[in-house]
C-alpha cells in the first residue's frame, strides 16, 4: 500500500531540553570576577612574550601558546571601539531595549571588552569615552554584569 502523504496529518512532537549547566570559571577568570565583586576593579593579564594585555584575563596566550601569570589592573575607563543600538526585544537580552551592545577598549588593555551601554544612546559614537558603572556592593555576585553598564563620560 502506498501512503498518499496528502491524506496524512503531519504530526509534531512538542519538546523542550532542560539541561542545567554549571560552568567552572577557572582560577584566572574567577580572579577577574572577584575583583569586580569585591573591589569594583577591572583586571587583565599580560602575556610576557607578546606583551598583549587581555581583558578578561585568560590562562594562556592563544598566539604565543604560553602560560600567562602577570595580572595587571586596567582602568575602569576607556573608549567605545564598536557598537550597535538594539531596538528589537528578545528574551535573552540582558536589559530592556533600547540599549547598545558595545566593545569597550579600556585604558591599559590591548583587546576590547564586550559589554552594554544603556544611557545617552544618541551621543554614542566610536571613540567616545566611557566609564564602568558598577552595581551596588550588595548586588554584586561575581558576574560580568556586576558592571551594570558603561556610561558615556
Amino acid at each position: 500500500m502506498t501512503v498518499n502523504l496528502n491524506q496524512v496529518e503531519s504530526l509534531t512532537l512538542q519538546g523542550q531540553i532542560a539541561v542545567p549547566y554549571t560552568w567552572w570559571v577557572g582560577r584566572v577568570g574567577s580572579r577577574f570576577l572577584i575583583a569586580l565583586r569585591d573591589e569594583a576593579k577591572i583586571i587583565g593579564n599580560r602575556c610576557n612574550r607578546c606583551n598583549t594585555v587581555y581583558v578578561p584575563p585568560r590562562g594562556n596566550c592563544g598566539s604565543c601558546f604560553e602560560d600567562i601569570d602577570q595580572f595587571v589592573e586596567v582602568s575602569n575607563e576607556g573608549v567605545v571601539s564598536a557598537y550597535t543600538v538594539v531596538r528589537f526585544k528578545y528574551p535573552l537580552q540582558p536589559v530592556d531595549t533600547p540599549f547598545a551592545y558595545a566593545l569597550i577598549h579600556l585604558d591599559g588593555a590591548d583587546v576590547s571588552l564586550a559589554h552594554i551601554i544603556k544611557a545617552d544612546l544618541d551621543k554614542l559614537k566610536n571613540g567616545v569615552r566611557v566609564r564602568a558603572l558598577f552595581k551596588e556592593r550588595s548586588e554584586r555576585t561575581g558576574h560580568i554584569l556586576d558592571i551594570d553598564s558603561f556610561q558615556i563620560i
Binding site: L13, G15, I17, A18, V19, P20, Y21, T22, W23, W24, V25, G26, R27, V28, G29, R58, G59, N60, C61, G62, S63, F65
Partner: protein
C-alpha cells in the same frame, strides 16, 4: 596510496571529578602542552588540529572555534569531530586520515570533556531520536542492562563475573597517576553497591570525569625524527550501526566491534588476537562489557569471557593485559575517553607507560564505544608497517 603514520607524543590531564581551577579551554591547554612537551614540539610545528567532545555536556556547540586559545589552533586548520562515546577514537582516526592523506605532516588530535558542568544523562539522551527512543531507552543504562541480561541468560555468566572486571580495572588504576578513581575495590564492594538497573550496580559503571587528552600524529619520515620509537598505526576501522535501540540484536554480540576488529585484524595481518596483541586498552564503559566484548574481539570464544577473566589472562602479567591504565571504569571524561585508550596504547608501544607499562609491547589494541552500539578500533605497533 596512504602514507604511513605514527603517534609521536601524548598528553593528558590529571583526571578528576571536578576541575574548578580551569575552564574547558584551559583544561584542553594542559593536555596539549603535555603532548607537545612529550615529543618536544612547539605548537608552531603542528599543521592541523582535530578536536572532539559532546556538545551538550558543556552547552558549547562550536568547540573547534571556541577552544582555539587552548587547542593551539589560532590561525590553523581545525575540525570538530563528534561521534558520541567513540568521539576520542574518531578524532584519532580523523587525525590519522589527515596525515595519511599527504596533506599534513603533523596533526594534533584532542578529546576533552567537563562532565561536572552538566547533567550527564540529560545531555546523553539528546543523542537519540526525540520522537521514538528518547523517552524510553536512552541514556547509558537501559540498553547496556539489556545487553548484560541477555549475555547472562545465554551463557550463565554471573554478577560476580562482571564484578571481577571492575575490580581488575580499578586495581590497575592504582598504578596510573592520571586516573580519576584511585581507591581499591573488591568483588564484595561491587556486589554491595546500589543496584541501578538489573544487573548493573553503581560500581559496575564508569564515573563522570573532567579531563582532556591530546595525541600528536606524524608522517613517515617526519615521525622518526621526532620520536626514536614512535607508535605506528597498523590499522583502524569504524562501524556505526543502529540508530534505533529496538533494532539491536542483543543476543548476537556487539556486531560493530566484531566487524571493526575483523577489518582491523585483516589489515594488520593479525590472526590470533590474544596471542599476537600484547596489550589492549578497551573502551569498557561497564563491567559486563569486559566479559562479552573480549569475545567479540576474538580474545576467546563465545561464552568464554568469564573464564578468560577468572583465569587472569587479562590481568597485568597475563596473556593479554587489558586496561593497564584503569580503563573507563576508573576515568571517563567522555570526549577524551576513547582518545585516552589510543594514547595509553601508544604509550605502551613507546615504552612510556611508567608503572603501568606492560613489558616488550610490539602490538597494542585500542577501542572506542558509543552511541547506539558503535565501535572504533585502532591497532598500533612498534614495527614500521
Amino acid at each position: 596510496m596512504a602514507r604511513r603514520v605514527a603517534i609521536v607524543g601524548t598528553g593528558q590531564t590529571d583526571h578528576r571529578s571536578h576541575r574548578p581551577d580551569v575552564n574547558g579551554r584551559e583544561m584542553i591547554y594542559e593536555a596539549v602542552k603535555r603532548a607537545l612537551d612529550d615529543c618536544q614540539l612547539s605548537i608552531h610545528d603542528i599543521d592541523a588540529i582535530i578536536i572532539g567532545n559532546m556538545d551538550h555536556f558543556e552547552s558549547i556547540n562550536y568547540v573547534d572555534t571556541w577552544s582555539v586559545e587552548g587547542s593551539g589552533a589560532v590561525m590553523k586548520p581545525i575540525m570538530k569531530v563528534t561521534t558520541g562515546g567513540t568521539t576520542g577514537a574518531s578524532v584519532a582516526i580523523a587525525a590519522y586520515y589527515h596525515v595519511a592523506s599527504g596533506f599534513f605532516d603533523k596533526v594534533l588530535a584532542i578529546g576533552w570533556e567537563k562532565n561536572s558542568e552538566s547533567d550527564t544523562t540529560a545531555a546523553i539522551i539528546t543523542c537519540s531520536d526525540p520522537v521514538w527512543d528518547r523517552a524510553f531507552y536512552s541514556g547509558a543504562i537501559p540498553s547496556l542492562a539489556t545487553e548484560a541480561s541477555a549475555y547472562m541468560k545465554q551463557y550463565g555468566a554471573t554478577q560476580e563475573d562482571a564484578a571481577r572486571v571492575a575490580v581488575r580495572d580499578r586495581t590497575n588504576a592504582l598504578s596510573n597517576p592520571h586516573a580519576h578513581l584511585r581507591k581499591p575495590i573488591t568483588i564484595e564492594d561491587v556486589m554491595a553497591s546500589p543496584m541501578l538497573a538489573y544487573p548493573i550496580k553503581l560500581l559496575d559503571v564508569c564515573p563522570r570525569t573532567d579531563g582532556a587528552a591530546a595525541v600528536v600524529f606524524a608522517a613517515d619520515g617526519v615521525a622518526q625524527k621526532i620520536a626514536p620509537k614512535p607508535a605506528w598505526i597498523r590499522a583502524c576501522a569504524a562501524r556505526h550501526t543502529y540508530s534505533w535501540f529496538g533494532d539491536v540484536d542483543y543476543n548476537a554480540g556487539l556486531l560493530s566491534l566484531q566487524r571493526a576488529s575483523k577489518e582491523a585484524y585483516q589489515r594488520a595481518g593479525i590472526r590470533e588476537p590474544a596471542d599476537e596483541i600484547d596489550v589492549a586498552e578497551l573502551y569498557l564503559p561497564y563491567s559486563y562489557a569486559g566479559l562479552k566484548w573480549i569475545e567479540d574481539l576474538g580474545f576467546c570464544g563465545p561464552g568464554e569471557g568469564p573464564g578468560f577473566i577468572r583465569d587472569g589472562h587479562t590481568d597485568m602479567g597475563g596473556k593479554i593485559p587489558v586496561n593497564p591504565s584503569g580503563g573507563v571504569i576508573s576515568t571517563n571524561c567522555i570526549g577524551a575517553t576513547a582518545l585516552l585508550r589510543v594514547a595509553e596504547a601508544a604509550m605502551q608501544v613507546m615504552g612510556k607507560a611508567g608503572q603501568r607499562q606492560v613489558p616488550d609491547v610490539e602490538v597494542a589494541l585500542a577501542t572506542g564505544f558509543g552511541g547506539c552500539f558503535w565501535s572504533d578500533v585502532l591497532i598500533l605497533g612498534k614495527a614500521r608497517p
